[in-house]
């Protein structure tokens, strides 16, 4: 018996390579393929996304914002905030530090951030250090950037957190803030967006 020619098998091979089922009679129910385990089905929804130009001086450059959220029934997830700091200044690098606390931050609490030194891990009035970066100056005319991140909640704890970005003096910085909810429940994006009741951003420093 002769083996089938490769060319006659090509359409079948292509369908198999494309990951498609061989025929409607053998089609699996897509509902059966969904794994409800939270290890694999995380969904992220951005609830706030805004970019600010930081004042370079007087008395110190910084940015403060707060995030408040509630947790609906059957919610398993968390709320987080991400930062992107762009340095457009061709002349200087810039240290930035990102603090999270439970009380409204004081402008006078902003620490000095010498280049090359670790920022203080805890600052009265700002809270705990969540992330920090040394953002390089804009080499060869191209701006450079770095990013930071903090998880604000876990699972079923509703709350309110205050966040502060402290930055070096004099640099030409823009700061992008993205706050999002992450979940693995059956909630719609609209429901998840509603769990973050308020993201209030104010340039206070």
């Amino acid at each position: 018996m002769r083996a089938p020619r490769l060319s006659s098998m090509l359409p079948f091979l292509v369908l198999v390579l494309a990951g498609c089922p061989p025929g409607p009679g053998q089609l699996e129910d897509p509902e059966e393929l969904i794994d409800d385990g939270c290890d694999e089905n995380w969904i992220g929804t951005t609830v706030h996304d805004q970019t600010f130009k930081l004042p370079p001086y007087a008395p110190a450059p910084g940015l403060a914002w707060s995030v408040e959220w509630t947790v609906p029934v059957e919610f398993y997830g968390g709320v987080g905030s991400r930062l992107r700091i762009d340095n457009h200044d061709p002349d200087q690098d810039c240290m930035v530090a990102f603090y999270v606390g439970d009380e409204e931050p004081w402008p006078e609490a902003l620490p000095a951030l010498p280049l090359g030194e670790e920022p203080p891990p805890v600052v009265d009035g700002l809270g705990e250090l969540a992330d920090r970066a040394s953002v390089p100056r804009a080499w060869d005319g191209n701006g450079t950037w770095d990013s930071g991140y903090v998880a604000l909640s876990t699972d079923d704890q509703p709350g309110m957190r205050y966040l502060t970005l402290a930055a070096c003096e004099g640099a030409d910085l823009t700061v992008g803030i993205e706050t999002y909810a992450r979940h693995c429940s059956s909630l719609s994006d609209m429901d998840v967006g509603a769990i973050v009741e308020a993201v209030t951003v104010e340039v206070v420093f």
Binding site: V14, A18, D93, L115, G116, R132, P136, W139, D146
Partner: protein, 181 residues
């Protein structure tokens, strides 16, 4: 309806695979050389890389593509950031005559390395790629230069890769030999 949709997606993917399968074949041959330790402080910020590549075996009459890539992993112990630039030079590098502000050599790519924070060095991993057409000749010299500006105390390691790419059908015994001196 759902089955119709699934079938449409299958047809689209199958079409894409058939398109790729019927495109002209593309052959590439690669060799790689370790550049050893890159100590910019010891080299006063300038590390020249001179070398040549040679293609062994038959190549056709078509113009081939050449990709030279410098891959580096660097650590910066200075608080200030730095910029590592890869230059493709027309001639072998000479300290007395080469001036980055005056040269007409080609600036291939710039890699920015952040400053150290406390005990943690700034770090960057990157690939700087120089692509050009190769007009005949199975052996060709090249002259590259790594220039560091800003930070001084930068060390790391790297390697150089050369890849010859062609759409012309080739025998299997073609190889590329890369040398750095």
């Amino acid at each position: 309806m759902r089955h119709t949709g699934v079938l449409s997606v299958c047809v689209l993917i199958a079409g894409a695979i058939l398109t790729i399968a019927t495109s002209p074949p593309y052959f590439s041959y690669t060799d790689r050389v370790d550049l050893g330790t890159l100590d910019f402080a010891e080299a006063d910020g300038l590390i020249p890389i001179d070398g040549s590549f040679e293609v062994e075996g038959y190549l056709g009459d078509t113009i081939e593509e050449v990709f030279l890539q410098v891959s580096v992993g660097l650590e910066n112990l200075d608080a200030e950031s730095g910029a590592v630039r890869l230059w493709a030079l027309e001639q072998p590098w000479e300290l007395e005559t080469w001036d980055p502000a005056e040269t007409e050599d080609e600036l291939v790519e710039t890699l920015v390395i952040p400053g150290a924070i406390g005990e943690e060095p700034g770090a960057v991993d990157g690939v700087m790629a120089w692509e050009r057409r190769w007009v005949k000749g199975h052996q060709q010299e090249f002259h590259l230069l790594l220039e560091l500006e800003g930070a001084v105390d930068v060390v790391g390691s790297g390697w150089l890769t050369v890849t010859i790419g062609t759409e012309e059908r080739q025998p299997d015994d073609v190889s590329v030999v890369l040398e750095v001196h």
